[in-house]
Amino acid sequence: MTEAPLIEVRGLRKFFPIVKGFLQRTTGNVRAVDGVDFTLNEGETLGLVGESGCGKTTASRCILRAIDPTAGQILYRTKGGETVDLAPMPQRELARYRAEIQMVFQDPFGSLNPRMTLLDNVGEPLLVNGMKSRRDRADRVADLLKLVGLRPEFMHRFPHAFSGGQRQRIGIARALATEPRLVVADEPVSALDVSVQAQVLNLLLELQQRLRLTYLFVAHDLSVVRHISDRVAVMYVGQIVELAPTNALFSRPLHPYTAALMRAVPVPDPRVNPADGVLRGEVPSPANPPTGCYFHPRCPFAQPRCAVEAPALREIAPGHHARCHFAGDLALAGA
């Protein structure tokens, strides 16, 4: 890649205050996103993976500015080639870029308005962006439905007439209505049945190639993330602990948490024995994270240094970053 990245996130932080008592005094902060840096190049998929509460959803919502970040920069390269910072931008100015960054939601049942037909559901972003003629919108919606593999005649029906997989296609059609450049997909297949999940993953891959889309793909399922992503970022308690090209990450993880996460995934083959070395303990609370490395209380390789000194995200191999004092020195098995 010689071009500048489409999005460059620097030092992104989002703290939610904990308020207590009658006076609503702030007694602490939930450090949901605690210094996240990554870049997204045009046409690639970055998978953001982690367990619940790791901040992956909050980070993705900050990029959409559905949540206002506490600190950090979100540098976006516009169509004209100039770079703007979305993080401090006022809503009025932001409206100009809203069409270019769209979202696909997890719940295909909750994210469509049940009282609007597909034409109105999928066409709403077009209306908002100034396509006033209903006929023009109908033409565009017909094209969009065809694009996601649904019949254009369906546009006069209501969402309840569709199955989960079809609804997710409708959600994707709506996200694509404004011809976005970046699509943020938050757990887009986790609510779907196994036999339908593959169809939606294939559709996302196909659309990316046809429309040169960039995806930020947020999910908890390692197998799904591995399947769809060019690069993967693993998050733990609000921080990226490892970021690498997909194959490098899965064949040679450099952070003990990544390796543990992979080992925890049950292999769909009864001839493979269950992995030993189950990770002990629980994910710490982002309101009260441990000292030093956030992973040290659960880490099988922890040294005294880990409890006092917080490691930085370092580049160990080209494009392969890990937040561990001993990254590269540990013998960690990949998948």
Partner: protein, 341 residues
């Protein structure tokens, strides 16, 4: 290969739901056996009837659901078989079995515990109740000691303090462990785990699965493991029942199901899951179409509209579930010609 007589035999179970719009056949002729100490997996997608089957075994099917026909034979400690389907769901016999002999680990431990009682109090209640039913008396202090012991067994740290915690004070993993402790409190011989790890994170899931494996080895409890996750099925079970739209498509030993699946649905399901080892960013083989709505059930074999190997006869006749190999049966005309009457 188990040699003991089966602990539970489900024979041609049918559960229907009479709705205003028509009758839904949620479970449509399911048969399988569970042997002592065996882990049987029931796998399928939404609406396949796996949870309703579990509810039928416990006689917990709610109206408008109804056990239309079939037998659920449970062998008690003396070796006599009782047909649970014939018992009154609210009667003393069924109530004595539920919790004591057959226990349930539900999917949502948050919803299963009462938020206004401590988890300890809820487990103590179950222990005392079932002891009374058997004509024994267990004091509250004794029951409490048992609960602390169970908490220690299932890996809850500081069990003396956690007994007095409310469910909402516990994390997801701890809550699920407390639920498992509750299910084990009366030393059941059959444990039904309904998607026990679906709501929890993958590292916690690994802990819970390891715990269930240990407990099965320790107490020789038979487990029916209901899940949609083929990875969990492969790692946990020894015998697998594959269901689709209320019917058993295929059942057999876990190795056969994964390495020599006989039914096109099983084969398609196994191919369509992304794995942690496969090719990346390439199209996955898919099962075409979507799951039919229960009111629009296809005629004949329920899978035929989506089946890559469908033949003309599949739309008109429903194949019987018949043996295709040692302990393995499939309901498919690729293997035999016998249709349901």
């Amino acid at each position: 290969m188990p040699t003991d007589p089966p602990l539970l035999q489900v024979k041609d179970l049918r559960v229907t739901f009479g709705m205003d719009e028509g009758t839904i056949r949620a479970v449509d002729g399911t048969s399988f056996d569970v042997h002592p100490g065996e882990v049987v997996g029931i796998v399928g997608e939404s609406g396949c009837g796996k949870s309703v089957t579990m509810k039928a075994i416990l006689q917990l099917v709610e109206r408008p659901g109804r056990l239309a026909s079939g037998e659920i034979l449970f062998r008690d400690r003396q070796g006599t078989q009782t047909d649970l389907a014939k018992l009154d769901p609210r009667g003393p016999q069924m109530r004595a079995l539920r919790g004591a002999e057959i226990a349930l680990i539900p999917q949502e431990p948050m919803a299963a515990f009462s938020p206004v009682h401590t988890v300890g109090a809820q487990i103590i209640e179950a222990i005392q109740l079932h002891a009374t039913q058997e004509g024994r008396r267990v004091s509250k202090a004794e029951a409490r000691e048992t609960v602390i012991g169970l908490f220690r067994d299932v890996g809850i740290s500081m069990p003396e303090q956690r007994v007095d915690a409310y469910s909402w004070q516990l994390s997801g993993g701890l809550r699920q462990r407390a639920m498992i402790a509750m299910a084990l409190s009366c030393k059941p011989r059959l444990l039904i785990a309904d998607e026990p790890t679906t709501a929890i994170d993958v590292t916690t899931q690994a802990q819970v699965l390891a715990l269930l494996r240990d407990l099965r080895a320790k107490y020789n409890t038979a487990i029916i493991f209901i899940t949609h996750d083929l990875g969990v099925i492969a790692q946990m079970t020894s015998y697998v029942v594959v269901m689709y739209l209320g019917r058993v498509m295929e059942q057999g030993p876990v190795d056969q199901i994964f390495h020599a699946p006989a039914h096109p649905y099983t084969r398609a399901l196994l191919r369509s899951i992304p794995t942690i080892h496969g090719e990346t960013r390439t199209p996955l083989p898919v099962i075409s179409g979507s799951l039919p709505h229960p009111f629009n059930r296809p005629t004949g074999c329920p899978f035929h509209p989506r089946c890559p190997e469908a033949m003309p006869g599949c739309a008109t006749a429903t194949p019987k579930l018949l043996p295709v190999a040692e302990r393995q049966s499939a309901a498919c005309f690729l293997h035999h010609q016998e249709a349901e009457p």
